[in-house]
Amino acid sequence: MNPYDEFDLEAGLDAAIAAAAEPDVPAPPPWRETRVVGKPLPRIDAYERVSGTAVYASDVILAGMLHAAVLRCPHAHARVTRVDATRARRMPGVRAVLTPDSPGADIPWYGGQKGPLSRLLDRHCRFQGEEVAAVAADTPYQAHDALAAITVEYEVLPFAVSIDAALDKNATPVLDGPGNRAGDPRVVERGDIASGFAAADVVVEETYSTATEIHVPIELHGCVAKWDGPSLTVWDSLQGVFPAQATLARALGLPIARVRVIGPYMGGGFGAKLDTGKYAVIAALLARETGRPVRLFMTREDTITSIGNRPGVKSTVKIGATRDGTLTAIEFRCIGSGGAYSAGGTGGVDWQPLDLYRCPNVRTVSENVFMNAGPERPFRAPGHPQGAWALEQALDTLASRLNMDPVALRLQNFTEVSQARPGQPRYSTTGLRECLTEGARTFGWDDARKAGQRGALTASARGAERGGAVRGGAERHAAERRGVGMAAGMWRGGAGGPPSTIIVRLLADGSANLNMGASDLGTGTKTVMAMVVAEELGVPLERISVEHADTGTTQYTGPSGGSKTVPTEAPAVRAAALAVKRELLALAGAQLQVDPATLSIEQGAIVGAGEGGPRLKVTEVQALRRRGVLVGVGIREPDTHGLAVNPFGAHFAEVSVNTRTGEVRVLRYVAAQESGRVMNLLTYRNQVVGAVTQGAGLALTEERVLDEVHRGRVLTRNLYEYKVPTALDVPPAPECVAIDPHDEVCNTAGAKGLGEPALIPSAAAIANAVADAIGVHIVDSPITPARVLEALARRS
């Protein structure tokens, strides 16, 4: 199951087309001036996060709790012929064992068009790491001992762990077949590329590839499951508690109302935690069998094989342009594999070529292949960085062929229209032009690009070197080549939209409580939403509490993902706060015997118009004191503007490349982003910094490696082999330029999503800087020292 399937990135736009019913209360006008929103405020839960008091799912310890562990298939493709757990069941501390013969093992899993593709514990294992058996024991050590005592016999089957192998005519089908193509290619076409290329003065064509990436949230995937008779409570590390509630209810045949999922703190997701996984169903089955709470957290190795990934994609880009840089045609073909059960190998890859630049003639073909590897899961801007990696490098080559500045080439093809959408609506706003120009200005792009400086380090980069973790003297410098590069990008989502229901409560002492279903992935959602309440009700942040991400106490919303959380939740929070405000002012007006329309809230008091007007402290409103609470409910209404809502960005990087060792270091970085209103400048910058780090990982270090020759296994099953960027691998002080175009129509908060768009151009910007440094593009990610040296050898 791909959680993105059930989750609409463009809810706002679609809802607009559906012409939603007019809400009872008209939408509030956008904020003109703000008192709280936009400020760089520390997050409201920072104390919990730095003190160690935040309780993550993995920190939940219940009386009598057992610890579970899962036995997984070690083969890329195999059939389980025998499972013998006799010895394991007799081991000290072991309380329950699940095998493919146990009740519940046949729960359907991995949905396909014609029904489930597999089962919870399926004898047919189509990738290394599929679940075969599970144990619950008194300690995790005993659980792992017991796993080792389970005898499993496998019939090892032929496997395919590369696209080429999967498409070989003799390949064994991963699913039912025939062959391993996951449906027909997705073809999108506008205009006529043949005439477009005929009109071009220059045509470039190149093939690029990105490696498969693993999400690697630092909190592992897992949960604690506890039954109270017919009711199940699960503490899970998730981006959304409501999808998990539905998944568990469906899997276990329970009413949704009997499943409670709790997850207020979660240790990173990046798409991998949009929904729960098999682990939670297994934990629930073990808990039911033993009558005790069960904790099941996956091992790091198992998350790498089994939870999900960003599929590696191979893309061929052909672009034509006239001499002034006007694009005449783009042809884009890509192929990727979503692994064993997902047809989503190239989902989202075609969006950059289809929508980012003005071009009348575009054709994209996206192909998907099944293979015997872990299924993909959405990973921060699914498909988009892969597409940008190819398109933005090709544009760089085009700029060079046209003898044109790369920024100028992109400005030449700027558009205010979403060409990929039906009817080609305008964007509500696009800050791409400002991202390009302001980003370039902040970076000092023109100076950095000046001929004669290339190959040497710029003054600012030398400064960064001195401050950075760089060693080596003149000898090293002699081998260093410096380069600058840039890239742009946009995110297909970022509009937000229904559903979300929010409750804001004003309490008798004038403090407030925000009740929100959404998870805070660390993006600062809680803080930003509390700021919206503070803005509308004049309650200081320190007098606002937030409860969230608990299906038992908060209201339905989608998972936090797709960079839709702020544009989804903020309008609903604002509506809830305004509902409270309306009631408060009505009650105050009755008490003061004035028209509520003349009243406003200022610093904890309700004040009338004009000097000497009535003034009443919020705590003096008699009805509030009597009732103890005023409750406001806010619903995320559909947007009705009919426009496309998208965030944009342009990134600039300076790198040094050691031509002897092939080592690449990112010295300087400027990321200009336009995501509508900046809700909190501090957490905004942090999102961008984090995206740049992940982009550096895509560009330079991250690659899941499969043994294509011998056994089909994952060769990068730990964090030594699978290299997530460390503090030594990132630019020391990336700068964030926040472009705010004052979007007054996208939604009632004026904000679009940020987390994903900030990642999209980053790897390509680094790749272009490397090409600038060494004079040749490295077309395959990651840009390892070996690839740099090979490229240099080829060039000379």
């Binding site: 996060r49 160690g52 630092i218 790091r300 973790a469 999102q687 730990n718 030594l728």
Partner: protein, 211 residues
């Protein structure tokens, strides 16, 4: 995290520590590996070896955040497991259980150490400090305050480990350069990617600690 900058230091742990303990307590990555080789060769020379039956429980006295806890442990239990599951100190996090991510970083005799790669029995006789031990009652310590100020976190899961890495760094290097800060936290992965903010927080924490 322990890496090249403290390779010149003697390990603060007394005899009885296995070679494995040394190998696994040192930081991650290539830089850590250099230090590892150096320290391991020094460690094996005169370390007495004590063998404990794997199935048996042994009693240890662990000095954690100034309080001595006497408890029965299996010899194979990690310090991280005992801190979290037996003492309820869940500030140190599990992220890999094999010394790769740094989420479990604690101080042992003032030096950063991966609790997941330290056996509880090894930790006896040493002063263990966890994130909870940096608090003064409900008050945050200076490193924690600096992390709040500079928003040096996102999801927060690696944060206790990052705080301990900075704390350990500042105890040996009160005025670190950016270079030293980057190396000091290079054994602590932050997948949200907030390193640049962590560097700022570390600089600010050094100021706060200097007063």
């Amino acid at each position: 995290m322990a890496s090249s900058h403290d390779s010149d230091h003697k390990c603060a742990c007394a005899g009885g520590l296995s070679r494995r303990g040394f190998l696994t307590s040192v930081g991650t990555g290539a830089i850590g590996a250099v230090a590892t080789a150096h320290m391991a060769s020094a460690a094996t020379a005169d370390a007495p070896v004590e063998t404990i039956d794997a199935g048996a429980h042994v009693t240890v006295a662990l000095l954690v955040n100034g309080t001595t806890h006497r408890l029965a442990v299996e010899p194979r239990w990690s310090l991280l497991f005992v801190l979290r599951e037996r003492l309820g100190l869940t500030g140190a996090k599990a992220g890999c259980e094999r010394g790769e991510c740094g989420a479990c970083t604690v101080l042992v005799d003032g030096e950063t150490r991966y609790a997941c790669m330290t056996l509880a029995v090894e930790a006896e006789g040493h002063e263990i400090t966890t994130i909870e031990g940096l608090m003064h009652g409900e008050e945050l310590g200076p490193v924690q305050r600096a992390f709040v100020e500079h928003d040096a976190m996102q999801c927060g899961y690696c944060t206790p480990g990052q705080v301990m890495a900075v704390e350990g760094l500042l105890r040996t290097t009160p005025s670190p350069t950016l270079d030293q800060i980057r190396e000091g936290v290079s054994g602590n992965l932050c997948r949200c990617g907030t390193y640049a903010h962590i560097f700022q927080a570390a600089e600010r924490a050094a100021e706060l600690k200097r007063g």
